[in-house]
Subunit: 418 residues, 2 copies
Amino acid sequence: MIAEIIATGEEIRTGALADTNSACIAQELEGCGVEVTRLHGVGDDLHRLSALLKEVGGRADVCVVTGGLGPTVDDLSAEAAAEAAGVGLRLDPPALESIEAFFRARNRPMNPSIRKQAMLPEGADVLFNPVGTAPGFSLKVGGCLCLFLPGVPFEMKRMLADQVLPRIAALMGGRRDHRLIKTLSCFGLTESLTGERLAGLGAEFPGVRLGLRAKFPEIQVKLYASGADEDGVSQQLEKAAGGVRQRLGDIVFSDSGEPMEAAVGGLLRKRQATLAVAESCTGGLISHLLTEIAGSSDYFIFSAVTYANHAKTAVLGVSADTLLSCGAVHEDTAREMAAGVRRVSGATYGIATTGIAGPTGGSAVKPVGTVCIGLACEERTLGFRFHYTYDRRSMNKQMFAMKALDILRRELMALPHR
Amino acid sequence: MIAEIIATGEEIRTGALADTNSACIAQELEGCGVEVTRLHGVGDDLHRLSALLKEVGGRADVCVVTGGLGPTVDDLSAEAAAEAAGVGLRLDPPALESIEAFFRARNRPMNPSIRKQAMLPEGADVLFNPVGTAPGFSLKVGGCLCLFLPGVPFEMKRMLADQVLPRIAALMGGRRDHRLIKTLSCFGLTESLTGERLAGLGAEFPGVRLGLRAKFPEIQVKLYASGADEDGVSQQLEKAAGGVRQRLGDIVFSDSGEPMEAAVGGLLRKRQATLAVAESCTGGLISHLLTEIAGSSDYFIFSAVTYANHAKTAVLGVSADTLLSCGAVHEDTAREMAAGVRRVSGATYGIATTGIAGPTGGSAVKPVGTVCIGLACEERTLGFRFHYTYDRRSMNKQMFAMKALDILRRELMALPHR
């Protein structure tokens, strides 16, 4: 079964708003075994929208449309749908009743313009909206079942789950095809080198399609497979994932799509270990990432963002001699920062970053993009130096943070440091 | 002049990634006076992509395509373009030279698969990519100039500005219409309340179109106007912006589109003041935001992310009595954290957050979404408590961080605290 998705609205057409609804709908449809072939964005233009609906109606089995159901003159979806289907508009009593009930339940007066939302194409079925004032509707255009939803994301999501997916499941009957995706997250090789290591893998695992995606600063290897037997598809993907792991080795840090900070958090929890962080050039980003994970207070206890040198000395006990002789950006300073934050906090592990995120502050010896990373634990204290060549401060920060977390991951898994 | 935009990639088609590139391109094209009529998303499918290019080639004047220029087998844009234009692929020497130069400049070995990126359709002109390894290209398909860019957003943006917009300006010749957008960034009212305060403003400023956009956690008021006279359009927008400011007052924190952390940084620099932060529930996010701004080391000196209670006592000197009698989430604790981090660091201002970002850790008295914020300066130390009702941990963290920065902004501007 083939589906297309249409997002409507001037804010979509002009780019004032990035369309996130369509991605959400595509994921849900693909999850049901529907193949999404095209996404479309169009403005509030009656004839362009009705022409597009006719075009899709002649090609797809299902089309989900968002936006244009509101009470104002630029809300044109019902009119465009009627034009595409060659029918008129009529007042839909169940739609009107659902709108009136929404206002009654909230003790709010109903503005007369709201009645426009109950004008649906002849032959349409209303899709009730329990969380907003604009009902949706479904209508056949050509051979295609078109489902119209509001553009407000949380209303759209609720109606997609309650009203649209059950209708699509019914349409599919017994022909449900399971489309699964497996994501292996990697760090440590460029996208092209990752691709070279995986060359020819497709031939080894027929039926599994392989895609690479740079989700900076990680590289994701995505495996796609589909079939009627969900367990079979899942096993196929697991086997292919094994093949990917064999070729990529320890650069794969997760096979569930979880980010590096969650993988590291899981390892710390498994070892009942705690972590403290000393950040200079990453400016709080490592701590922010770690604390995005619910339950991170089980292992993350403290971070010192010591942007100024005197904070490195006062809070972390970095020696003034080291700062003077080596400078703030040095392996020895990073080691002392990591050891200091571990000592101050009593954590099992301490990690530290000090470097030059740019755009200024670089020199010939320590150019922008240089980062020194420290790691301290009971057994040892290590210092590393790396150099990256990104043009943007925020990318340098992200790469520095990822590298520091990966060094900790390698230590926790007893992998070689590189 | 009519333009369409195509985003390619399995991650776009399946919804694994929301397409933000197209919105960015649409804004820029509209800004040049080009009318964007349709946006498209398609997967890595050679025939679907070439068919779409042919379709657009028969309809639009310009088409910008993102994605599919990489070194791996699922990167199909050049092949699809060649098929749509009815030509073959050939090795493009300037493209190869630009790729080799990229690797030489970074002292990185060039792996063989990268050469694929220099295979362009016959008749194509290379578009150099100064920030990545995959060059783009332009090619006529039917009557339409198609411009192919990488899918990585920062590479796409750089090439859009350097390579695409000048070519479009040249195409338009003297027919250029200036389409300007002015953004006023607001914090402190919901989108609907902001909209109500601005009701009727459109009638006061004919020719200026007003749009509201929720860019969580801020609300952006966007003013659009266009015309042949750039200065006139700009003045029109400035007048309307004055009208917006009059109605919204001190909730407008920027009229240049800069984020809150840049606005606060600008105020600190103007006052030659410094800042230290004590973060509990925001987990490093405030520091991360502040240090995203280049030059923030001029005013930001230290942050302590004291996730564990003993870190609050040991590093910030929060009294054990306060923690025992009031708990970690309390106005008094926030005040002591702010005063402590200011004292430890010697900063002019200290701000602090302590709260419950969720999903667990809430109680009847202090539910998830509760945040206490402290502010310390020479004259006084203040504590505040707020409660938000977002479902997601990351949204709570963002809102808490934004509120703390807004409290500092109000203090720096001597605005009333609310």
